[in-house]
């Protein structure tokens, strides 16, 4: 019976990762940028799961689990930071957060 080649999964994760990067680089709304990071993390998770399937191990799952927790924590803090930014500048456009340069 035909299965799905491992490398397909991995490629998918690579694609998603790249798309996450793209979102980070091209989107201007801070929140969207932040979501792109989540996308990247998901991509990585997919790789972990795939590998642990291939290795028949649970470690990858644990790692993914931890990554999820971290993502949640980061979300909490990150959104708080975004709040303060918005409070101080009344904008979510990432291009306007560049008072410090050179």
């Amino acid at each position: 019976m035909t299965g799905v080649p491992i490398s397909w999964f991995l490629t998918l994760s690579a694609v998603l990762f790249a798309l996450g990067v793209a979102g980070f680089v091209f989107r201007r709304n801070i929140i969207t940028v932040f979501m792109s990071i989540e996308l990247m993390l998901n991509a990585v998770n997919l790789s972990f799961i795939t590998f642990s399937y291939q290795l028949k191990q649970v470690d990858g799952h644990i790692f993914t689990f931890v990554v999820m927790v971290v993502a949640a924590a980061e979300a909490a803090v990150g959104l708080a930071i975004i709040l303060t930014i918005f409070k101080n500048r009344a904008t979510l456009n990432i291009d306007q957060i560049d008072s410090m340069k050179n």
């Binding site: 644990i62 931890v66 303060t84």
Partner: protein, 487 residues
């Protein structure tokens, strides 16, 4: 699949520093909630107490060195060295923070809580012997420091630096994770020692692949140690962050991240060293050049120190490029010296910057040598050490690093490094010139005599800097002994 039963006491004791830090951190938080009228000094004293206790604990933990929690952690000389280092960094951050926080009339309890947590995270990082542990430690330390960077939440620059640090940090972390995933996928394990086993074994994956994974990992770690080409965030974040925090960021996470760097690359990826050496080599060269040259034009002292910290990361990477236990020892020694001189320099900045951190520019240091001779003298020691003048830790560290580099026949890397040192002298000298060769300006005139805690914050690192420069043997031996453990 290794199954360990419930942890025994030894495990707990080896984890003692982290436990103390977290427990006390939580306690501070609760205390803050309970106390009606809060006495801002008390929290500072408490966290100092905690840190000292943690210091003692980590020294004690060293007496029963060994792996803990089924090899998730390993408490060895190396770990202890860095635990002590980050905890000292914490102490040197707390000392100047008294006056600073008072000046900015900011909350103190959470500051110390977060600081303690972040240090706990770094202690975990340096002791971690397994990638999940590394990752968690990294995140604990990072998330705490994201918040710390934006601690003055009504300060636009603080917000901005916090956001930049956070977004780019997470961005880099994602790369790090991807690299870890690839390592895991190719070696089938996440325990560093096990990885080393696989890589040195018969069924080792192609070094090319490890190289790529290493590259991805070095994105994350390079970001944390602010090594080129991932240095770009550092100047903005350091400038925006409150000075004590900037001091902390430039030393604590950096040291911890370097510890991880060393553990992963020397221990886990050691067998395929030839594969990743060019990586570190390029990064080192870029860091030294970018850091030193960009610093030449900075007017803002915090930015200047940021660039200098980039350059110093470059020097440590040179030691890593040597790929020898001597090199590791050199890196460890240099990080120690760097911590003292850099945190010391930042302490002076936070002392001088005044309310709302008005005075951050080089001009503001004018005439400090006449108005505040003591402070100026201390800063001069730090600057001379950063330049690398003999009898200071900075010099001996560089000397030891380049010795290691030359032993590994990295002649031209050494020459380049030393030449950039010479160029670097210029921007440190500008500060000396300002302090001693110009007439006092506002900042120097209005600066009140340093408080007791500030005096400690200056004298301790100064003494340490000179001690490392004149009697390096003791530290060197320890570093040398523990560096061999990485193999």
């Amino acid at each position: 699949m290794p199954v360990s039963l419930m942890p025994n006491t030894a495990d707990i004791l080896r984890l003692l520093p982290e436990i103390i830090l977290t427990v006390m951190g939580t306690f501070l938080m609760v205390l803050d909630a309970l106390l009606q009228r809060r006495n801002s000094k008390a929290f500072g004293n408490l966290s100092l107490l905690t840190l000292v206790a943690a210091l003692a604990a980590s020294v004690y933990a060293y007496t029963l060195a060994g792996p803990a929690f089924g090899g998730m952690l390993v408490v060895d000389g190396f770990a202890t060295f860095f635990r002590v280092l980050v905890i000292i960094t914490g102490i040197l951050t707390v000392l100047p923070s008294y006056g600073f926080l008072a000046r900015q009339n900011a909350e103190t309890s959470e500051f110390h809580t977060l600081l303690l947590f972040s240090i706990a995270g770094q202690c975990l990082m340096v002791a971690a012997n397994e990638l999940i542990m590394v990752f968690i430690g990294l995140e604990i330390s990072s998330i705490a420091s994201y918040v710390l960077a934006g601690y003055l939440r009504d300060d636009k620059r603080a917000n901005e630096s916090s956001l930049k640090y956070f977004l780019l940090g997470s961005f880099a972390t994602a790369f790090f994770l991807y690299g870890v995933a690839l390592i895991y996928g190719s070696t089938g394990t996440i325990s560093l020692t096990a990885i080393r086993g696989v890589l040195s074994g018969p069924s080792a994956p192609s070094p090319v692949f490890i190289g790529v994974a290493a590259a991805l990992i070095s994105v994350g770690l390079g970001f944390k140690v602010s090594a080129a080409p991932f240095q770009i965030w550092a100047p903005d974040v350091y400038q925006g962050a409150p000075s004590p925090v900037a001091a902390f960021l430039s030393a604590g996470p950096k040291a911890a991240a370097f510890a991880v760097f060393l553990r992963i690359f020397m221990t886990a990826l050691g067998p395929v060293g030839g594969g990743w050496e060019p990586l570190v080599w390029m990064s080192a060269m870029a860091s030294m050049v970018i850091g030193n040259f960009a610093a030449l034009l900075q007017q803002n002292v915090k930015r200047m120190l940021a660039y200098s910290s980039i350059a110093h990361a470059g020097y440590v990477l040179v030691a890593l490029t040597a790929r020898s236990s001597i090199g590791t020892a050199a890196a460890m020694f240099y990080l120690a010296a760097y911590t003292f001189m850099n945190v010391g320099a930042f302490a002076v900045v936070s002392y001088l910057s005044g309310k709302g951190e008005r005075y951050q520019n080089i001009e503001d240091f004018a005439g400090l040598g006449q108005k505040q001779p003591f402070t100026a003298a201390m800063l001069s020691i730090f600057l001379l050490s950063l330049i690398g003048v003999p009898l200071t830790g900075g010099f001996f560290g560089k000397f030891y690093i380049f010795k290691a580099a030359l032993e590994s026949h990295l002649v031209w890397l050494t020459v380049l490094g030393l030449l950039t040192t010479a160029a670097a002298a210029y921007y440190y000298l500008r500060l000396l010139v300002m302090m001693y060769m110009h007439e006092p300006g506002d900042a120097a005139n209005y600066a009140e005599a340093p408080s007791l805690s500030m005096r400690f914050a200056l004298v301790l690192p100064a003494i340490a800097t000179l001690f490392l420069g004149i009697f390096p043997t003791w530290v060197l031996d320890f570093a040398g002994k523990s560096s061999t453990l990485l193999k």
